[in-house]
Point group: C2
Amino acid sequence: MKADSRCLVCTANQALRVLNKYVRSEEEKWIRLQDMMKIISELKWGLKPIEMGEIVYTEIEKIVGKRDIYEKEKKRSNEMALAILEKIKRAIKDSADPLYDAAKLSIAGNLIDLGTPSWDEERVYNKILEILEKPFGINDYETFKEELSNATSVLFIVDNAGEIVFDRFFIEIMKEYNSSVQVFVAAKSKPIINDATVKEAKEIMDGVATVIDSGMTIPGTIVEKSSDAFRKLFFEADIVVSKGQGNFEGLDGEENENLYFLLTVKCAVVADYLRVPEGTMIFMKNIKKR
Amino acid sequence: MKADSRCLVCTANQALRVLNKYVRSEEEKWIRLQDMMKIISELKWGLKPIEMGEIVYTEIEKIVGKRDIYEKEKKRSNEMALAILEKIKRAIKDSADPLYDAAKLSIAGNLIDLGTPSWDEERVYNKILEILEKPFGINDYETFKEELSNATSVLFIVDNAGEIVFDRFFIEIMKEYNSSVQVFVAAKSKPIINDATVKEAKEIMDGVATVIDSGMTIPGTIVEKSSDAFRKLFFEADIVVSKGQGNFEGLDGEENENLYFLLTVKCAVVADYLRVPEGTMIFMKNIKKR
């Protein structure tokens, strides 16, 4: 999908959010944001939103340094997701279709920003319970379930910290459903916003999946820019699960029949593109066999 | 008050809203917005938000032409406000303090964008009833009431279409409270966003106030750039009422003891400046006599 003019303003706003964390002086923040807006004002028409993110986050890194900007938030998100999972996992395991409910939890984890400081565990937990009641706006789950029963390999492309805890649980349930499936988890090479890195993914996925480095340092995945290991699995795995909007923005349009997009629609641009309201949960096969 | 970096993104967003109305091609919109962002990226630190608006709206006019961009919305707003006023005016006139309730209605009209296409009259009416229950966040009404009882002249600086209908009602009640007061209404020279123009103000204020041209063509009022007639009244009137955030942004800081700011706080920047939450209704004397 192609970015439109709303993405220009949104990208400026993302830049401001990072600057807010690292630049104290209001005047310096003004000047730095203007530098970013100048760069944004020169981005060529036809880019994917995620490619805009790549350019702008690379520039921001030059200002704030190569640090793990959201380290604290990511840690807090993971801890909160673990606590919530403990409360909820029994009910999912005992439900009529644990695979379906675990997928839903994994996608619900993508909706709420678990790192939002003002959200306590109770509030996130209640929000998750509320989301779990909602249907998918696009629903290819039954096809996925059928294909999973015959699969031997799954590539699971993770998105943010926090939700990755629910992803692990989803993968566990996938393996209970088909015990012969091997799961590979692809995570970011290095910190970018609140995306889960290889290091973090290895901790969370210990014992359930083999973690590989996607080669990506942007908040999404673009095949041409990914690592060899990623590309091999992307085209050879029986099933590829892509979590989140950033990965969707990068991988949409790929000729891959085994690819499923699991995401919560977080902005009006993607909502318009998929013709669903913002906030909709999506479980969508990339190219349906007809 | 000085703009901060949030105003850079907000100004870009305002530009996009106008472009959305007048530019059809997505690619052209992208390029035009980038032109605006380039201009925004060169605005100097220390400007008032309203001065940023002046520069950007002047540039946008070069693209979309000198037309009355919000003509339809303004007409619809006025009609809706008239219908709502008919329903509500009896209760206000019969209340314990009609002047207070009429002021509240005038400020409430500033909160809701009466021109929002998806809002029907019923919804706006209910919203107004809800708002009328809320207290002012800053409340110098009693001082105003006392000063009004001794005043012979009031300059009332109007803001948007729609709410101007409630302003007229407020002025009527002011004149019932003090029948010897003469009221002058200052409105914009020509169309800018949904601000009421001199032409529109003359229609609405017929029979209750003398309308003057403020000389302003930006969505707010700056004394140095205003007309001679405005400046004279601004410094000589016994009371000056400034409606809305745009006028507040421009007139805040003026040495004028007779000035009252009546507004609903519509953004985080002004909310931080006044130390109140967004959405707060303000009835504030500019400089309190100590």
